[in-house]
């Protein structure tokens, strides 16, 4: 299910003195099954774009096509809303039911799915996010922060979306929590072939996971391409006011001394080690 964003603009409170254009003339194609990262500063239009891609907002101008479904400013019912799952920032704040089971089953119940099928989906979802069955009858509020976040994610997965939008999924989690969640996202992507749209400030996550990365600035797309392309050109990063991933930063520091420079397209520590090993061997032979 490919996504095509065709020259859209979005204006908040149109026709009032508070009118504000949050996105202007944005075009973007997201192929089915990729991990698309969206990055940009606060106020760059990321949240508005999420709202549009999830079918919660209609574009003021232009159109969005998800699979066969097209949405413009005048579309009444947005048909793709049920195909897109959104996990908002700090999703654990949205848990509400008395038990983990009730919380996860809330979404599919609203979609009118039969009870037996819901049960299967709940069990499948907790399996996917790595939660133990013994937690199902517990109150979600008695769980740890990392567990609560996985309950929230399971609730979205139980609706079986073909497109999954994650808004800063690792914000506030410590290293172990973050790593578990990232490998979960990676695993989901491999196993379920869902399209994942990842909104993040963490460049290490972009470097590790994303196939394509969109940079938004003041409502406009200022870059869309591969992470290698984005992080290898330091001058562009500086212009965008962005920090490179931590390994790229280390390579930059090494390159202040080492000539010819180490390529900045290396994102894994193993790659850097292999590169340095090779250089050392060549150096010793000379």
């Amino acid at each position: 299910m490919d996504i095509h964003v065709n020259d859209i603009s979005y204006v908040y409170q149109k026709g009032t003195p508070f009118e504000e254009e949050a996105l202007s003339n944005l075009s973007l194609s997201i192929q089915h099954g990729i991990i698309q990262a969206i990055i940009g500063k606060t106020g760059s239009g990321k949240s508005t774009l999420i709202g549009l891609l999830s079918g919660l907002l209609r574009p003021s101008k232009g159109s969005i096509t998800v699979g066969e479904d097209k949405v413009t400013a005048t579309t009444k019912k947005i048909p793709f809303r049920s195909k897109v799952g959104v996990v908002f920032q700090y999703p654990e704040h949205q848990l509400f039911a008395e038990t983990v089971y009730k919380d996860i089953s809330y979404g599919p119940t609203n979609q009118g799915i039969p009870a037996e099928e819901i049960k299967n989906r709940v069990y499948h979802a907790i399996d996917l996010v790595g939660l133990d069955e013994s937690l199902l009858e517990k109150s979600p509020f008695s769980l740890s922060g990392g567990q609560m976040r996985r309950v929230a994610l399971a609730g979205v997965l139980a609706m079986e979306p073909s497109i999954l939008i994650l808004d800063e999924p690792t914000a506030g989690l410590d290293r172990i929590g973050s790593e578990q969640l990232l490998s979960l996202i990676h695993h989901l992507h491999q196993q379920k072939q869902v399209t994942i749209i990842l909104v993040t400030h963490q460049m290490d996550e972009v470097a590790r996971l994303a196939g394509q990365v969109l940079v938004l600035e003041k409502g406009q797309a200022v870059f869309n391409g591969s992470p290698v392309e984005l992080f290898s050109e330091r001058s562009r990063l500086d212009k965008l006011g962005m920090e490179p991933p931590s390994l790229t930063k280390l390579i930059d520091r090494l390159n202040e001394r080492i000539h010819p420079p180490i390529p900045t397209s290396l994102f894994e520590l193993d790659q850097l080690v292999a590169h340095l090993e090779l250089r050392r061997k060549v150096g010793n032979n000379e």
């Binding site: 500063k41 606060t42 106020g43 740890s144 922060g145 990392g146 914000a171 506030g172 989690l173 410590d174 290293r175 172990i176 929590g177 400030h201 006011g241 962005m242 920090e243 931590s246 390994l247 280390l250 520091r253 090494l254 202040e256 001394r257 080492i258 520590l269 193993d270 850097l272 080690v273 340095l276 090993e277 250089r279 050392r280 150096g283």
Partner: protein
């Protein structure tokens, strides 16, 4: 004379009657913070670092052990009132600590509670706004500020009370990179002006900006060292669920491959120069 904070054999738990001691949030902690230090306290989620923060500014009372300011135990409400002025705290969520309808009123709120005169407020408020870089936004409604600006407003509110110590409890974790950098720079400036900075975080890269690092895990202090010493021992951080700086990981990987590098690295700078010579 400043403020020296001392915890001596402190134990703390929310429900001390019902939990056995090995599950208490803070266990047998003795620490001393001199005026003007810049310290990071690092620990993973649930390590007890936030409980420790609340003990340091008197928000929590130790279940056992002593809490002293300049050698004097804090016991009466009067002591605690004085302590709140000397030791300010900035929390994680900027939305939770802003109360008033405008930037100026928000800073005045804290001062009014302390009984500071209007005249004095008119002198202090512009000064602290300048210090945190919010001059010109006096009349702005706080909910129209960005997350980073809100956090700076909270800091201005604390600074106006002229504290000796500021505790930052995960104060950068909800901010975007710009907001984060701004707060970290501000911490450094405040430290240089003589204020004690205690920064509680789970991010190793931010923690290493401090002069001294304290690692807490399951309520206990695991390490208390200068940041250079701790950098050299940073591989240990992994076992407590904390990030190991990437330079240390590279150092370790290359040594495993037989590179002749010093056994201990005190900084990334040292790694870069040693790598260069051995290539």
């Amino acid at each position: 004379m400043g403020t020296e904070i001392t915890l001596k054999d402190v134990w703390f738990h929310y429900y001390p009657q019902t939990e056995s001691r090995e599950n208490w949030a803070v266990q047998n902690v003795s620490l001393d913070f001199q005026q003007g230090e810049y310290v990071s306290i690092i620990g993973s989620n649930g390590s007890g670092k936030s409980s420790l923060a609340c003990l340091l500014n008197g928000l929590f009372i130790p279940t056992e052990g002593a809490f002293c300011i300049n050698g004097q135990p804090i016991t009466t409400d009067q002591d605690r009132w004085e302590l709140k002025r000397r030791v300010g705290m900035i929390f994680q969520n900027p939305d939770n600590q802003i109360v008033a309808p405008s930037v100026v009123d928000d800073i005045a709120f804290g001062l009014e509670n302390l009984g500071v005169s209007r005249e004095e407020m008119k002198y202090r408020i512009p000064l602290v706004l300048e210090q945190v870089g919010l001059s010109g936004l006096e009349k702005k409604e706080p909910h129209h500020l960005s997350g980073g600006q809100k956090q700076r407003l909270a800091i201005a509110g604390i600074l106006a009370m002229q504290p000796d110590v500021i505790i930052f409890d995960e104060s950068t974790s909800m901010l975007d990179p710009d907001g984060r950098k701004h707060i970290l720079r501000l911490m450094d400036e405040l430290h240089k002006s003589g204020i004690t900075i205690i920064h509680i975080t789970h991010q190793a890269t931010e923690a290493f900006l401090a002069e001294r690092l304290i690692v807490i895990h399951q309520g206990r202090i695991m390490m208390d060292q200068s940041s250079k010493e701790l950098y050299a021992n940073a591989t240990l951080l992994d076992q407590w669920g904390l990030d190991v700086p990437i330079g240390i990981l590279l150092h370790q990987a290359l040594r495993d491959k037989g590179w002749k590098l010093s056994e201990k690295m005190e900084s990334e700078e040292q790694l870069v120069s040693e790598l260069w010579t051995s290539m």
